[in-house]
């Protein structure tokens, strides 16, 4: 709500003028019954044609002014409403971009899109109608009563009774039906769920010959919906007849009281007509007011839903340091003197003391890392400690939910650890500026994701200023050359939204190419070659190792064949590091790894690998 008002404050003048102009228009409308009464009392009684014509002209002028004011008000309120919606959408989009994709996943893209479009649209309508009506309708209702009092206070007393009774009826019906409509909506949701479920599971339903029972279950849900709709319909159908009765009883009362007044000589016929007119005006505005309240409550609910998204925040503090060059690693390595690879790191850093365009690789250290996705009770990672040399190849293997992806997600700092630290070249990732950090990392996610645009556009996501030559090189490395050539459009190949015109394996290879274009210090393949056949997978790994510079490569996979030649393999099980070492070491020491191998290799191969020289 606060947010909404802050947007409206940007258009403060319009936000004030819109309802004001609407009110002016309403004021003019209120004069009409008085003038008509005058026409009857003075004009008709005195048979004064010129008086009547003068009054007519006055009426026409009022109508014209009313029109002008109304149009101005409509424009102002539309302007405020649409601008508010625009600002809201921009802010929402900007906000969504900062969320972690785990947050996005748990919210669901379709929900977020509903918030972005239909919810904000409801808010826009709400603001629009609010500005137009929130002053006008009450003003007309109470204005009519006020005018009635200026005409005659005796007959006007009926207004004092009628208005509260009408309010009471309108609100009682609204309050009674609102929760009932929610129940209807809930039942409709249930029907939607059943339908979706049946659409998705149509094969299983048919395989088990359960069509008839599914149908009868749906029938009873539909009956349930019908019953609820009829029930709420009965109540909300009361609104019109009841208000009709009250208003007309009010008119009858005016006639009766007015009759006595006239008889006593305190009132004229014309004035009674004016009172009757004011009474009729109330009804129209009151119903508008009721509709406005419904609309506003919907808009508020929508605004709250949008606000819920704003309230989900990603509390990461950006670091201040640039991405550390390998030199930084020396000091870190110094700190951990017991690390056997220290000399090695030092030697690489000597070679690349200045961070140039050339790929240097980066060392990775996990120290006692514990990590938990927000709501999960169980930590996704527990006590993970390992070291990877700059330029080495690390394999990570384990079942789903074992924490493989969680490890790689901590490196570009998509998440912060709960305790422990992740360090690149000896610097904690939390101290590094996120944009700089990520620009040194090439991550290929599990789900191959491409965007609408040319192949070149997509590759330039990796690096803005990549040349065609560099892009082609990356395509070669990613083993995508063959099919890119076969499409015949080269780098101008149009890619549809989400890469719909490509197969799974083709998409995967292009996403790998995109990461390679970046010339990252750390290249992470998060189970991203799963759709490739084994030969291509092997060729890909070979090409990366030989042609993508000395970057540190992390291969996440379920396949032994993918990780077996890595310098070091991390075996993940249930968020814990079950083992760490080379293929042979693990085959001889790690039972979890042995299990995995047993399911993917022949006993002879296993025996051979145990002994042999990998």
């Amino acid at each position: 709500m606060k947010r909404l008002f802050s947007y409206m404050r940007v258009h403060l003048v319009e936000s004030i003028l819109a309802p004001l102009f609407k009110m002016l228009e309403a004021t003019f409308e209120l004069f009409v019954p008085i003038i008509v009464a005058e026409m009857i009392d003075t004009g008709v009684a005195g048979r004064d044609v010129s008086f009547l014509v003068k009054r007519l002209i006055l009426l026409l002028v009022l109508a014209a002014c009313g029109l002008a004011f109304s149009i101005t008000a409509q424009y102002f309120s539309a302007k405020v409403a649409t601008d508010t919606a625009e600002m809201m959408r921009n802010d929402l989009f900007r906000h969504m971009e900062t969320l972690s994709w785990h947050q996005i996943d748990s919210l669901g893209t379709s929900t977020l899109i509903t918030r972005m479009t239909s919810d904000i649209n409801t808010v826009q309508n709400g603001v629009n109608m609010f500005l137009r009506l929130f002053l006008r309708s009450p003003f007309v209702v109470f204005g009519a009563m006020f005018m009635a009092f200026t005409v005659d206070s005796h007959t006007a007393m009926t207004f004092v009774v009628v208005i509260p009774v009408l309010f009471l009826i309108v609100f009682a019906v609204l309050l009674a039906t609102m929760p009932l409509y929610r129940k209807v909506q809930k039942q409709l949701d249930a029907i939607m769920r059943t339908t979706r479920e049946n659409l998705l599971g149509v094969r299983v339903v048919r395989a088990f010959n359960r069509q008839e029972s599914e149908k009868s279950a749906f029938d009873s849900e539909s009956d349930n919906l019908y019953d609820r709709q009829i029930f709420v319909g009965k109540i909300s159908a009361l609104l019109n007849p009841m208000t009709y009765v009250v208003i007309n009883l009010g008119i009858v009362a005016i006639l009766w009281i007015g009759g006595r007044q006239v008889n006593a000589g305190a009132l004229t016929q014309g004035k009674i007509i004016a009172q009757v007119n004011y009474m009729s005006q109330i009804l129209v505005e009151l119903i508008k007011l009721a509709n406005l309240i419904i609309l506003l409550s919907r808009a508020m609910a929508s605004a709250r839903r949008v606000d819920d998204v704003f309230r989900i925040t990603n509390n990461m503090q950006d670091g201040t340091q640039p991405f550390p060059s390998v030199t930084g690693a020396v000091s870190a390595a110094d700190q951990s003197a017991d690390r056997k690879t220290q000399a090695e790191i030092a030697s690489t850093s000597d070679l690349n003391a200045v961070h140039t365009d050339k790929v240097n690789g980066a060392s990775i250290d996990f120290r006692d890392v514990v990590f938990r996705y927000e709501k999960d009770a169980e930590p996704a990672l527990t006590d993970i400690t390992f070291h990877a040399d700059a330029g080495s190849t690390i394999g990570i293997i384990g079942g789903t939910g074992s924490g493989k992806s969680s490890i790689v997600n901590l490196i570009p700092r998509f998440y912060d650890t709960e305790s422990g630290s992740v360090m690149l070249n000896g610097t904690d990732v939390r101290q590094i500026r996120t944009d700089d950090l990520r620009s040194h990392i090439g991550l290929v996610p599990q789900k191959a994701m491409l965007f609408h645009g040319t192949l070149r556009d997509n590759m330039k996501w990796g690096r803005e200023d990549a040349t065609d030559e560099e892009i082609n090189e990356a395509i070669d490395i990613a083993q995508a050359r063959e099919f890119v050539d076969s499409k015949g459009a080269g780098l101008d190949l149009m890619i549809e939204q989400e890469g719909r015109n490509l197969s799974g394996g083709q998409k995967q290879r292009l996403t790998i190419a995109r990461a390679v274009v970046r010339k990252p210090d750390i290249l992470i393949l998060d189970d991203s070659a799963s759709a490739l056949d084994f030969a291509t997978d092997a060729a890909l790994r070979h090409a990366i190792r030989t042609r993508a510079g000395s970057c540190t490569v992390i291969l996440v996979s379920q396949r032994v064949s993918t990780v077996r030649s890595a310098d070091e393999i991390l075996v993940m099980n249930d968020g814990k590091l079950a083992g760490c070492g080379t293929h042979r070491e693990l085959l001889n020491s790690c039972p979890e790894y042995q299990d995995i191998c047993a399911s993917q290799m022949t006993p002879e191969e296993i025996a051979r690998d145990r002994e042999g020289d990998v």
Binding site: G66, T109, N121, M192, Y226, N240, Q269, T400, D533, E592
Partner: protein, 600 residues
């Protein structure tokens, strides 16, 4: 040029005729409720008539109040008594009418929805596979809701609106024909203006929805790929693109909102002009009588003015109803399209019921394709003896799913034949054929409901002992017992509270409960932890004992133990034979095998 025009016209005509046929379909849906519709009409006439007569009496009442000392209280009281009775009658008629309208609308909608849902279970899978489930869902839910809104508005506002217009004209003529003429002649003016404005607004509304589509597309794409956006630091560029599209949307939205909001003030302006004109004319007619005859009384002028107001009101409403109704007709057309889809051909009248097959399956020169231009399976021959194990291997998208579709007769073959125990499956009663198959797919589907309900899905009458036995055989019992409510644990939509492996174990238990003679199994490629995978494998082995089984295989042991291996690539079976034979062939299988299982 003229040809072009002809083309346009015929296109227009087609649209019109389609709309017309949709309209007549809607009327057909209404027909069963004809008595109710007539009742609603009668009530509408009554309530409108009463509503219109009341102002006359109010006018009479005003006339009874002539002036000081000359108020006829006994007449006034009589009139008031009449008015009060009528008010109550009107209210009652209105309420019953609304209720009747609800009953008609919601029943029609329920009928349609049930029909649409039943249709989903009888149309061929090919139709379902080629339509996105989101699209079908919106036909069953959103489109039918839209139709419901349209019908309800139509019944409530269109009926009463038209009757009110006719009624007010009659009453006005009876009061003062001359002034009525002014009203009737000028009212279309407000109609014309409203039409003019709304057609302008409509084009902006269209642009607005197109622009909104652009915004949605971009949001969808960027959120779907947020990980990539963040990885590659694309946030700023995405934001720029978004705000550009958003600004465009906002611009059209402003125009659409503003233009459409002009209708109300503009028509109100015209109406008040008419009202003012009538007020003047009425006043003059109170003391002038241009064509002779009686002058108007002040009371009847009052009534007349209130008719002028009541007369113009429905015009605005009807315009709104018509646009709403147009949307509804479009929605109804989409629903009817679903309802008109041809169902799966019925079983042959002489179709055989397959009691308990021995499990001999033969594919004889089978050809099949989803689209005629892209031949997929051509001349496929496989002869499976009862109890044999067939492994299907090949890269993703090679046609393994297609084979399952054909075996279960989700799709019919284009040529050739598939026989089970020597009978062409097209001559077997569908339900009995499918009863003989047990299917566990990687793409696990569970119903929302308890675990117990899910396991007994194929056999709802199963006892608890049978269910538990099946779960034990499927190695699912232990994890089920660890769930908060055991077998009564509710499974969330699509198994949200279960891991992929647990879902697959439940699917296995579901088949385990009633083991059919032929199995179709899909081994998990990924996403299952080692321990569970071993369990699934054991369960699979248990199931396959003595049963004909088709296994989409990824595991070496399964492949090696198979009696026959079908190596598929691009929809073709390119190699066929057992493990040793295929290795000796030194072909694609050998390639696959060495890439996957031998050292590189």
């Amino acid at each position: 040029m003229s040809e072009k025009i002809n083309g346009v016209i015929s296109e227009e005509d087609r649209k019109k005729s389609r709309r017309k046929s949709t309209m007549s379909r809607i009327l057909l849906c209404i027909r069963p409720y004809l008595p109710l519709v007539i009742l609603s009409l009668v009530l509408a006439v009554i309530s409108v008539f009463l509503q219109l007569i009341i102002p006359v009496w109010i006018g009479d009442g005003v006339d009874a109040i002539m002036g000081k000392g000359s108020v006829d209280f006994s007449t006034l009281l009589k009139i008031i008594r009449k008015i009060v009775i009528c008010i109550c009658l009107t209210a009652a008629a209105q309420w019953i009418m609304n209720h009747v309208n609800n009953v008609i609308t919601y029943r029609i909608v329920r009928d349609l929805r049930v029909q649409a849902f039943h249709k989903i279970h009888s149309i061929p899978l090919s139709w379902l596979d080629t339509h996105s489930s989101g699209d079908l869902l919106s036909r069953v839910i959103t489109d039918i809701e839209q139709l419901s809104d349209g019908l309800l508005l139509g019944f409530t506002q269109l009926f009463t609106g038209v009757i009110t217009i006719i009624g007010t004209i009659i009453f006005m003529v009876s009061l003062q024909p001359l002034a009525t003429l002014i009203v009737v002649v000028f009212t279309p003016l407000s109609f014309v203006i409203a039409k003019f404005i709304s057609s302008h607004a409509y084009s902006y509304f269209q642009k607005q929805s197109a622009a909104r589509g652009n915004v949605t597309d971009l949001t969808n794409e960027m959120l779907g790929g947020l990980k990539v956006v963040q990885t590659f630091g694309h946030e700023k560029k995405a934001m720029d693109e978004f705000s550009e599209r958003n600004h465009e949307l906002s611009g059209y939205s402003l125009k659409a909102t503003f233009f459409s909001s002009l209708t109300n003030p503009a028509t109100r302006f015209v109406n008040s002009l008419i009202y003012d004109g009538v007020a003047l004319a009425g006043c003059l007619l109170c003391f002038l009588s241009p064509f002779g005859g009686a002058v108007m009384t002040v009371g009847s002028l009052t009534s007349f003015l209130s008719y002028v107001k009541q007369y113009s009101q429905p015009f605005n409403d009807i315009t709104g109803v018509l646009t709403e109704f147009q949307n509804s007709v479009a929605s109804a057309a989409r629903v009817f399209e679903l309802l008109d889809t041809k169902p799966e051909p019925a079983d042959d009248s002489d179709a055989v019921t397959l009691e308990h097959a021995s499990g001999a399956v033969k594919l004889d020169h089978v050809a099949f394709s989803y689209v005629p231009e892209k031949p997929l399976i051509e001349d496929l021959n496989v002869n499976v003896q009862p109890g044999q194990r067939i492994a299907i291997v090949g890269p993703t998208g090679c046609g393994k799913t297609t084979l399952i579709n054909l075996l279960m007769r989700f799709y019919d073959v284009d040529s050739g034949s598939i026989t089970v125990d020597g009978t062409d499956i097209r001559h077997i009663v569908r339900t009995s054929l499918r009863d003989n198959y047990g299917m566990v797919l990687q793409d696990t589907w569970l119903k929302s409901g308890t675990i117990r309900e899910n396991i007994s899905y194929g056999n709802p009458d199963a006892t608890d002992e049978e269910i538990i036995a099946a779960a034990k055989k499927a190695y699912a019992h232990s994890f089920i017992m660890r769930m908060p409510k055991g077998y009564d644990t509710e499974i969330e939509e699509n198994g949200g509270n279960l891991s992929a492996g647990q879902k697959q174990l439940l699917c296995i238990a579901r088949v385990m409960l009633h083991l059919p003679p032929i199995l179709i199994l899909d081994e998990a490629t990924s996403s299952i932890d080692t321990l569970t995978e071993i369990r699934i494998q054991k369960a699979f082995d248990e199931m396959m004992k003595g049963r004909t089984s088709f296994v989409v295989a990824h595991r070496l042991s399964t492949i090696r133990d198979a009696d026959e291996i079908l190596v598929m690539r691009d929809g073709h079976i390119i190699e066929q034979g057992n493990h040793e034979q295929l290795l000796q062939k030194n072909g694609f299988y050998k390639q696959l095998y060495s890439a996957q299982f031998e050292r590189s």
